[in-house]
Point group: C2
Chain length 357, copies 2
């Protein structure tokens, strides 16, 4: 890939990309990958991570430096100097969406002889299609979330009188008990009017009879994230709530049906969005249909009306339409799925029937 | 401050800085602050956050745009055009440590007439000195962590046979129960040889008699973070463990004694480090002494051997020396403190006597 871009090397400074390529999970590291086949990458981290680097990245000798970039710049400059007579030595790529203007200026100052070239999404592109090991980790992360919700429902943990925060903490606790390494993202529990806020943070608001309750949560397992939303009603179900639910469920199914290898992401979004628009409430679905999920909770490919990509076989994505009636309540239904020939493999298997709790 | 830098405005894209200046906690926003006194800033977020913006930032009308930068660029360009005849209109500052090379290039392309100027640490500089409202939030975050540890100790939750993960989850659960909005950072529980790894992630390793057990954890409250480390031994205490503990405790006290308004951060680091170096194990303390803490768990000012700043009165910082014997065990002792005339106000009040549990 680097050769196709006529780069001699790529400076990987995005820590998620460093993790993807090396397995290292520390908070300070950088990696220089050469275009030359078989040439060992330069991997660098600081003194806090000597033991962790040896354990997680046994196939590379870590350069230890408080300034993780320093050993990489030295290596890149040495390489450029050694090859200065050659005509086919390309610039060193850097990750333009991650590297800050300040660090870029600093590199220019410290390594003035180095030819730098902005790149975008090279490693992120590799990360879109998950191999079966990664799918296994995603499947486990999703199973942990499904199981946590099943236990919470069985214990009648979602009921009038409890607070949004209590429900959120229960879900998180159950995911940890179920083997999660961490919480996938800030758990959303939104009751009543709060359910109309797409990204609501749990508060001390008390769940009440007649409320819509929206849960959007996930687990982290082996670095991979699950993402699922379910919406319930408490005690009873008003007609507008059921209508909204059925509409979102239809839109979600239409979105899932459109998830086939090679589909345009914008078309998948449109498949779900058109169902909601046809019901005359298109403006109440004000966010994209979904996003890729993996080592990050939001990653490529995006699925929205202005998305430009396609969904390759093996990509992991969410499908999550919602309809939000301001100050009344909202419904969102979301699955994490793998793009497969013959239709998506749905990893989040909690029922999507409307449950009245 | 902007006038002193001869800037006409500052484009604030770091979300923590946006929060500091506006109170907004959503995941997509930007702010344009004018140098002109009294001129209303331009605040932008996307459609997911219409209600949240109205609630959290009642004094500004939010511009709603999926691309939060767009309304700011339009406003800045309109301003530049209106003032094109004036001689005293400065460039628009941007946050060079936050803005990526890619977004910077995108701004240049979309607003080619706009003069841009890299800035570093402007809002971060304002954030160093905490006002009493902020100190109150820090105090509460620290109290939640102290209280969680007190309850865990009372319940004998740190004992042989339990795993690092169980202890970590207990601490986190107790912090939530105590009113935390979130966990301050990834809780560290490191037992036995793992305690020699400065930033160890809790595993299923089982605590055993004779272990050093190091806990580094904190709570989030109102956006502010607490940070505390305590180290215990289980069942007994070998002489090398006690010696190591006493050394680190002396170094920590020396560091605290050096925390006075106006102190050079490097001198504070040296005050603690020299104690450890004098004992002949300076190389076993391989990280900086501390860091500022507030809306972020790590923020300005850094306290390390190469730090260049001073500690102003009202700054919130950690003081956390450690000595780590590889493959045997390590000790770290850390407090969160406020720089005050007459000596630091220590917000984390858990005992620093060596407890044998």
């Amino acid at each position: 890939m680097l050769q196709a871009q006529q780069l001699s090397a790529l400076l990987v400074t995005d820590l998620v990309n460093v993790r993807y390529l090396t397995g290292f999970t520390g908070s300070n590291a950088a990696l220089l990958v050469w275009a030359e086949p078989g040439r060992a990458p330069v991997f660098s981290t600081d003194g806090r991570y000597v033991e962790q680097a040896a354990e997680q990245v046994p196939d590379l000798v870590a350069e230890i430096s408080r300034d993780a970039l320093a050993p990489l710049l030295t290596a890149a400059e040495n390489c450029a100097a050694a090859n200065s007579a050659a005509v086919d030595v390309g610039p060193v790529g850097f990750e333009a969406t991650q590297l800050s203007v300040a660090v870029h200026a600093d590199i220019r100052r410290r390594a003035p002889g180095l030819a730098l070239q902005a790149t975008t999404g090279l490693v992120e592109g590799l990360r879109i299609v998950k191999d079966e090991h990664e799918v296994g980790l995603l499947r486990r992360a999703c199973a942990i979330a499904d199981e946590a919700l099943a236990i919470l429902l069985e214990r009648e943990g979602i009921r009038p009188g409890r607070t949004e925060r209590q429900v959120a903490r229960d879900l998180e606790w159950l995911m940890y008990e179920g083997g999660a390494d961490g919480i996938g993202f800030e758990t959303i529990v939104a009751a009543g009017a709060n359910s109309a806020v797409p990204h609501h943070r749990p508060t001390s608001a008390v769940l009440a009879e007649g409320d819509l309750v929206k849960l959007d949560f996930g687990a982290q397992y082996g670095g991979y994230h699950s993402d699922m939303t379910r919406t319930f009603t408490l005690g009873s179900c008003a007609q507008w709530q059921r209508d909204t639910y059925d509409l979102v469920a239809s839109a979600q199914q239409a979105g899932l049906d459109a998830v086939v290898p090679g589909a345009l992401a914008a078309d998948v979004d449109a498949a779900a969005r058109s169902v909601i628009a046809a019901a005359g409430v298109g403006e109440l679905f004000a966010h994209g249909l979904g996003h890729g999920v993996g080592l990050q909770i939001h990653e490529a490919p995006g699925i929205g009306s202005s998305a430009t990509g396609t969904l390759p076989c093996g990509a992991a994505v969410t499908v999550e339409p919602g309809v939000y009636h301001a100050r009344r309540g909202g419904v969102r239904i979301e699955d994490t799925v793998i793009v497969r020939e013959g239709g998506p493999e749905i990893l989040t298997v909690t029922t999507k029937e409307l449950l009245v709790l």
